[in-house]
């Protein structure tokens, strides 16, 4: 978890405030956010909540694996690790030690799109946290010995999350096949041979490219006032000079013109199936209708896919779907865990039939209302803690372009009609637009021979 890559693949994180049939309840969850853009371009969002004497602080940098190049894939994520390995004032190992000794903890995650740093601390540690953040944003050091030991850590992370994890392995293959031009094709953690070969020069270049204050958004939620945060920022963060942001990612993935398929053979107890469909980026108007569609198809034991694959046909243990927040058109991924010895193609067939059913006739009013209720509950789950609120505010600000869209989400979900759901099903969930990835257990194949 600590300082790792995190593919935020769950519906929950995609952040969805929701419609609400009970207006009063929604209003109770609207919270004032104070905002200021510092002179160096960093935007700061503050939400006061004095219910516990703690603070959650997030810094979102708009840099991720989409800003990398072949040969140095995974560099954003590796760099994220290095952000904990020493700067000018707080040397190697000191950041974590001083933070814990003052009651704080931290983590970070890297995705295809962003690198996010998180601090959770008691109010009393606030000046220290700003001192630490300012130190590492401007004076990160690159100790060659730390680079080597951290290389081992990241290699171990990759072994755990990809090489020894069938789901991670198959997902990596899926992205690499579904994208042929755009940088979403390589893994956030990086190819192993790239992990082994990064240089200190690569790291320095990455820092210079991605870590301008103007390329970041800070979100602070908890036992604070906006004024005290803005004052701390003026003192510690504002003097840090800005520079050019990373060059824009200009590569556009060309439309997929036909189904792509891939197979992974390896020793395994069970097969696995992933299907990816190209869908628009988070700030696209179809975001909401696509989420409603996925909710109806995949969420809960009453969902269409669960009822069909798990309950009725009994060919799968589980079926789910996810979309990450993204700047560029991305993938909606369906994961089905077939039962032992079930051919993944059997699951595929059932999934495709259910998708066709949504295209042929509209969903029911009851399903639409259920999906909206599920989104509402998810919204409460996201905003009921200071940590969840910091993440949600930042995610809306960064991926939807404005944190205020968080409060429009209810309206946007309410506006989704049955016809919208049918339209997005037809637009994005067709055969030519998909990549199907299967993992087949070698032992089964040997047994068949």
């Amino acid at each position: 978890m600590k300082k790792n890559q995190l593919r935020m693949a769950t519906l929950a994180i995609v952040c969805v405030a929701c419609l609400n049939s009970v207006g009063a309840a929604a209003n109770a969850q609207e919270f004032p956010v104070a905002e200021r853009t510092l002179k160096n371009g960093m935007k700061v969002l503050v939400q006061s909540d004095h219910s516990i004497p703690n603070v959650a602080l997030y810094i979102f940098y708009r840099i991720g694996s989409r800003n990398e190049r072949p040969g140095t894939t995974g560099l954003s994520h590796f760099f994220e690790h290095m952000m904990f390995n020493g700067a000018k004032k707080y040397g190697p190992g000191e950041l974590d030690k001083v933070m814990e000794a003052n009651g704080g903890s931290n983590n970070a995650y890297t995705s295809q799109n962003v690198t996010v740093y998180q601090d959770w601390f008691p109010r009393s540690a606030m000046p220290l946290i700003f001192d630490i953040e300012a130190d590492r944003i401007q004076n990160l050091s690159f100790d060659p010995q730390k680079i080597e030991s951290e290389r081992g850590v990241v290699a171990s992370e990759r072994r755990s999350s990809v090489d020894n994890d069938n789901g991670g392995l198959l997902e990596e293959q899926l992205w690499a096949t579904a994208f042929i031009a755009h940088p979403y094709q390589w893994p956030v953690v990086g190819w192993m041979s790239d992990i082994e070969h990064w240089t200190i020069a690569d790291l320095k270049h990455h820092f210079e490219m991605g870590y301008s204050p103007s390329n970041a958004t800070m979100v602070v939620v908890g036992d604070v006032t906006p004024d005290e945060i803005f004052q701390l920022c003026e003192k510690t963060i504002e003097p840090i000079p800005s520079h050019a942001p990373p060059p824009p990612v200009t590569t556009v993935e060309p439309p997929q013109l036909g189904e792509r398929r891939l197979v992974v053979h390896k020793p395994a107890e069970l097969p696995l199936l992933l299907i990816g469909y190209h869908v628009p980026q988070t700030n696209h108007p179809d975001f909401y209708a696509t989420n409603i569609l996925r909710t109806i198809l995949f969420q809960g034991e009453s969902s269409r896919m669960y009822q069909r694959l798990v309950d009725k046909d009994q060919i799968a243990l589980d079926v789910s779907s996810s979309v990450e927040p993204s700047f560029d058109p991305t993938l909606a991924i369906i994961v089905a865990q077939p039962k032992q010895a079930v051919d993944p193609q059997k699951c595929e067939k059932a999934i495709y039939e259910e998708l066709e059913r949504v295209k042929l006739s509209t969903i029911t009013d009851q399903e639409l209302e259920k999906a909206k209720n599920i989104r509402l509950m998810e919204f409460y789950h996201q905003v009921r803690t200071i940590n969840g609120r910091a993440n949600t505010i930042g995610t809306y600000e960064v991926f939807s372009g404005d944190y205020k869209k968080l409060f429009d989400a209810a309206k946007n979900y309410a506006a989704v009609t049955k016809e919208d759901v049918q339209r997005v099903a037809k637009a994005y969930f067709g055969a030519n637009n998909r990549t199907a990835a299967s993992l087949l257990p070698e032992n089964d194949e040997k047994a068949k021979q």
């Binding site: 219910s51 516990i52 009651g103 008691p122 243990l317 209720n373």
Partner: protein, 471 residues
């Protein structure tokens, strides 16, 4: 897919059982009320307003430690089937009704207890309470649903074995407790799940799902007086009968050293657990144990993580955890490393453990752990769901609000001398149980040096430990 497992993997039990310190003197658990219904049901009510949600937890004081040997998974299967058909609803109707509200009804079984949890918006309270009580009081366990669930669970075990890290704890506990109730695999195994039949499920339900064996915790946005009335209407008439509690004997720590190597031929990384039987919930030393463990392996700057990750880069993470239960539960050191550095990493973990015994912890380390636990505490009692869990677990283990309200003072009272006593008493030294999942052909010879007694299995062999044939 989410790739983050490092901290939340093993620590959940600890967070629940050692509700930690306070970040400010003024923080207390909100007032709550305990009511005893005539039929023996214990009800806990905690009001927390703000988010319009109500959380229910029915804790049945019997868990997987009560599974009959050879029928591991019985408590879990029984719990899961509660929502798969009731006197009022088919499984499909139950799912439809629960999902429609956006709320949830979940079930779980761990070693000491089984739980049914419900979460609903307060506008859906009536429907939510009806669903929750329907699952708890009126399940009918349809044969077809039992068959379906057992078949799925069996494949679920196989799927888990495809990922070493997800079954390390299961193998470790099974090997450590070696036939004792705390070694039972809560989810069952490939053999035991074929031996569970409907009549055993019904018998388990009838024996243990009775009001006198249940603590019901309700936390969230409601008025207590009003809620009490509603609960009385719903649960007041539930008929009572005596329960014979399951005795869980105290297992003394294992003497000497033994090592189980699980062969996973495609592994490029070895996952390992090292430890012994340790402490029970409510151990008088629990606060000091938590403090010492924070220093040893319970935080990012812990001695273990510092050695194995930060300084040497051998692993993405190394940690240690106590899992206190009704009677002594496991303590374990957990980490992983590439095949070639398996021995080096285990040696290093053992050195850190020896160093803890020889040198103790410094005053500075102790002070840091105190700050850390206090500073991170408040977010663990932030939501009504968390609060509902804490009060029900305290009640189950015979603990009370002082676990939270006095914890800061209790932490402050721990001196380096007390810490040293706790290390000698509760952290194992020479008596150690090792469990490794990895590629045998590359590591088996080298890891023999760690223990005199060696055991080996292949991950694809059914069961965990003991091997089903030995039962």
């Amino acid at each position: 897919m989410s790739m983050s497992k490092k901290y939340n993997f093993f620590l959940i039990a600890i967070i629940l059982i050692f509700p930690a310190a306070l970040s400010a003197q003024s923080i207390h658990i909100p007032p709550h009320e305990k009511v005893a219904f005539k039929n023996g049901l214990t009800v806990l009510l905690l009001e927390k307003h703000g988010v319009p949600v109500v959380n229910f937890i029915a804790m049945v004081k019997t868990g997987s430690a009560a599974d009959p040997p050879g029928q591991e998974g019985l408590a879990s299967i029984t719990a899961q089937l509660l929502r798969k058909g009731t006197q009022k609803r088919t499984a499909q109707q139950f799912a439809a009704d629960a999902d429609f509200t956006g709320g949830s009804i979940e079930t779980d079984a761990s070693a000491d207890f089984s739980t049914v949890s419900g979460e609903f918006l307060n506008k859906d309270l009536a429907r939510g309470l009806d669903l929750f009580s329907d699952a708890l009081m009126r399940p009918i366990f349809p044969q077809a649903e039992a068959d379906k669930l057992l078949a799925q669970s069996l494949d679920g075990v196989r799927a888990a074995k495809d990922e070493a890290r997800s079954v390390l704890g299961t193998y470790y506990n099974a090997y450590l407790f070696n036939g004792h109730g705390y070694g039972r695999t809560a989810d069952g195994d490939e053999i035991s799940l074929t031996k569970i039949h409907r009549d055993a499920i019904v018998k388990f339900y009838e024996a243990y799902y009775v009001p006198g064996n249940i603590i019901l915790s309700v936390a969230g946005d409601f008025q207590a007086a009003d809620m009490k009335k509603k609960l009385e209407e719903v649960f007041g008439q539930w008929s009572s009968k005596p329960v014979t509690p399951v005795k869980i004997p105290v297992l003394p720590p294992v003497k000497g050293r033994k090592l189980l190597l699980i062969d996973k031929p495609d592994a490029t990384q070895t996952y390992f657990a090292i430890g012994n039987v340790a402490t029970a919930a409510g151990d008088p030393d629990r606060v000091a144990i938590r403090l010492v463990n924070t220093v040893f392996g319970g935080s990012f700057t812990s001695l273990l993580n510092e050695s194995l990750r930060v300084e040497s880069g051998l692993t993405y993470g190394a940690m240690s955890a106590f899992d206190p239960r009704k009677t002594p539960g496991p303590f374990g050191i957990y980490s992983y490393t590439k095949n070639e550095s398996t021995v080096q990493a285990i040696d290093m973990a053992l050195q850190v453990l020896q160093k803890l015994h020889k040198q103790g912890i410094t005053a500075e380390e102790l002070a840091s752990a105190k700050s850390y636990i206090k500073g991170q505490f408040s977010p663990s009692i932030e939501t009504s769901k968390q609060l509902g869990q804490i009060i029900v677990i305290n009640e189950f283990y015979g603990l009370d609000d002082r676990e939270i309200n006095d914890l800061e003072a209790r932490l402050d009272a721990v001196t380096p001398a007390i810490a040293q006593q706790v290390i000698q008493k509760h952290f194992p030294t020479d008596n150690l149980v090792f469990t490794l999942i990895g590629k045998s052909s590359e590591i088996s010879a080298a890891v023999q040096k760690f223990a005199d007694k060696q055991d080996a299995r292949v991950i694809s062999e059914p069961g965990f430990w003991p091997a089903p044939a030995q039962k």
